[in-house]
Homo-oligomer: 312 residues x 4
């Protein structure tokens, strides 16, 4: 399916592809810390959704930079932790954030506007977005693949339920394609200066729907990136942002393998238990029975607690 | 014109209007600093554009809170500044930011999505936006009044030029109205669960154009608010965000009159001169001739410099 | 002991005490949300350590403001959560941060410089500190009470061990008192302009030790305050900052009782489990045996895990 | 003088010097943007004050990264600005901050505690400071050179006046040296575990004065660094922080020469004029007379205005 979409709409033009290859072919010497995994990734566009991508433009630091910063802070105090992996796991486990802030990454992301609007809520990052006041947007819209065209969940107000079936799915796809096509035709017609004055771009853009693609440079430190990934590379996140977060996870795993492994264990795969939940855990281990009624939890909370214990 | 738009689409329902009146009728005693100008404003919706508004939900501090914070910092050192107005002007002139951070305001804003996208770039604020994942958006779209329907500027890539004339204006308005109406009809059709499953809201929203209205609570301290107002209550800002900033200026003038007067003099009405520009000013005052060529400035910079000297 | 220290050095002068009483006696009407618990607290100085205090200068919002912001975001989506308490607990459990950012508090804190240096690492707050460049610091130093005069821990590089005994304790207290007294005498002698020029204050202050008291206005939103309290009202925090955090916890409990109860259950009393730890929990509940060797945890991690299961 | 201090207290040990040389001797290839000026600087310690230094640990981006980010934002809209220098000057002149945020630098700084306390007020940066809870501080104190030992200013509460003369200067230096020496002796005596338990490090540190040296890793983006430099590489800043800012200016000039030149012209060498001041400038150029009385400015403001016109 992905392959089919890709063929239908390569996210990069030939000219862009050539630029990337040119950029990748240039190598210079540096005295800075170098992450081999990131060097391999640099500039290459990793496709996400039908026309989107993520690519690494620059980075600062590696696993060792985290260790180095921690050792500046804790001096002799870190000597008893025998190795880098142990120290990084210790920092992650005890919520030490500043050593992870010492690494920085700059990504070039192409993404639908409705995804960009979720993404930007993470404020501790630097952003340069393509401006539709200055420039003309491209005719590129996100159209969901049929296996991601889901109905509203009937149990969760913010979630998706079953896949749409046959005719309904076809009807939705037709609407999305036609409406975005017409909106773009009219956008072009309004800004055209042939035989008319031509509407200001900053006004004409208001006709474009939220599935149009935008792009930006997004620069963030590793601590805040982990926070983003914990929330967005998660089953509760909307699919269309989660696929970006999943792709970035792969990049981070190549960049700082030790830190990413600790993140997976303590954050992504970890769980936060309330005082009440911990009390239940202690009773369960002691062989006592616990029910929702005796747990002190609400029904929703109890359901989530049961799910946690059942996982694995 | 504004009146006509208002009649055509009151931004508040009767139920909302009653809620506001009920909230305004409740008064409690407090030991906190109270700004009479803000008490008068509280909860009332001030209309902006055709369906938007700004209203004050809460505030903290007043002019005196700025002075108080400055006196904590500078202790006896501020005694020589004889009065509050002088001290506030001194702080503004010398870019002391922290005393202004001691005041905070929480606004409820209803605004088109493309305006929200500009606004959110100011990251040092707290935001709770209406979620189109959870809830269904209302059928309300910004349609520019004819006297704001401008052509693309031919001299400035991010600006507007002359007003669109007769037929072209009519054509544009027709497109904007029809496309947003159709997009909303289809949005409703896709999420409907009558006789079908109903598309997930988080997907259906992607069909809606950028002139649909959203709303949020926006909380910001006075220093960062002034920064926002300097950039957005400015001739270079897009008209559709400037009208919000202008309305907020009136609110701030009622809230912290001394601080706002200092802001007007030093920031909003002030000018930043480069070292080269200052050199030219000194020569001009001494009666010497200066031209663009001898100024060391580029053509664009020289034009801006000339405009500064001509103002008043 | 506290009483004795208090008698020896009341943190407030009579003039300050009168100012507080005068401020507390003034009441005005307001349309804003009012928290009765905070009104009761306003301006009163709550003593911390020997000469320090925390007092509330201003606040914005209450439990209801959190609920209100959440309902703006989630609209109809929150209707199924039947009451405010349930909604606040839901928000806390699922790491929704922005509704808690809608409340703000401004505190006046007097604290030793070495505590201030830890405190300021929490960057998302607004601060106006007393300036020793402009003004002369008071002769007030933190001298630990004997029951907090502890030896370096032999197991934890950043912790305290047993209490110092008899002679050693006396020797330490003598040093701390004499050195700070002499440092202050010399500070005064250097800045004096009697019979000499008098050293600049910005230079003279460098002679003063880190147990001298400073003071500041500290303004922070509730979400970031909870983050501060989770780290500082904690057994791992240094005692001298923990007592401030503990005092602030009492204030917050009076301010936003529902939010504070949720914070206590999910954050302060809660626990974060790694993926490995959750795996062990599942096995233990199933009656299987787990050892450090089979857990995949390091010795330190296992020790912490065991402690978690033993608590209660 | 500097040389003499340097001889008296080299900021780096031989072991540290060897580590730096080893780090500098390693070169790897990278696909990232490389700034030759920074490569030359990397790891080398540039001495500041008697025992302090600044050294570059890592960096991201160069002048071209600023241009690149601006071109992402403004697309075709930037084509009319013919070259990189012109575009960077345009961005600086119009307060575009986000392109400058795309560059990042990580510095290792050794500095007296009272300087660190000023520095840390700039909150938009990442910091890892040496922890005196975990580790033992070195016996290194800032003692001002005689040509920086100034009296309190009689006109400016936060400034310095004339140099201290003969006996008074000698007396001050004697106090600073003796008090810091004694404080450190007692610090060592308290933490010693020979024949006693040994006071916890987190408590013992409170005896150390504010001229003791600390160190940290400080990571900041170029926009926020420029803000720091505008305030701290300035005649109004305290000398002891200004020398750090001046040293960093030299580093930035090597890193991003075009951006630094624009910063010098528009920020460092530029001036902010109030609306009232601009009105006076217009009158003066027109040959009209203006006095403080007719200017609408306060005496202090007028004095500053006169100074601006006289500079050059």
């Amino acid at each position: 399916m992905i392959q089919q979409e890709w063929d239908a709409g390569m996210p990069l033009s030939d000219a862009q592809q050539s630029q990337i290859e040119a950029a990748r072919s240039q190598q210079t010497t540096t005295r800075r810390a170098v992450s081999p995994g990131m060097e391999e990734r640099l500039y290459t566009a990793h496709q996400v959704l039908d026309h989107g991508f993520v690519r690494v433009i620059d980075y600062m630091g590696d696993d060792n930079a985290i260790v180095q910063a921690a050792r500046v802070s804790y001096g002799e105090g870190t000597k008893h932790v025998s190795n880098d992996e142990g120290l990084i796991r210790y920092l992650m486990r005890h919520w030490h954030s500043t050593p992870f802030e010492m690494c920085e990454v700059k990504l070039h992301v192409k993404l639908p506007v409705f995804v960009a609007r979720q993404w930007i809520r993470h404020r501790t990052a630097n952003v340069n977005e393509y401006s539709a006041r200055y420039s003309i947007l491209d005719r590129e819209f996100y159209i969901p693949a049929p296996d991601h065209l889901a109905a509203q969940s009937v149990v969760n107000n913010q979630g998706r339920g079953a896949l749409l079936e046959g005719e309904e799915a076809a009807r939705v796809l037709k609407i999305l394609k036609e409406d975005s096509g017409r909106a773009y035709d009219n956008y072009e017609a309004m800004i055209s200066d042939e035989g008319q004055q031509g509407l200001a771009r900053e006004l004409a853009r208001m006709n474009l729907p939220a599935n149009i693609y935008t792009q930006w440079y997004w620069k963030v430190d590793l601590h805040n990136l982990f926070h983003f990934l914990r929330l967005r590379a998660d089953a509760h996140a909307q699919y269309e942002i989660r696929v970006y977060a999943d792709e970035i996870c792969k990049i981070v795993a190549d960049w700082v393998p030790l830190a990413f492994a600790a993140f997976e264990d303590y954050r992504k795969g970890g769980a936060t238990m309330s005082a009440r939940a911990m009390e239940c855990v202690r009773k369960l281990i002691a062989g006592e029975e616990v029910t929702q009624e005796t747990s002190g939890m609400s029904k929703g909370e109890w359901r989530e607690f049961q799910a946690l214990l059942a996982q694995g």
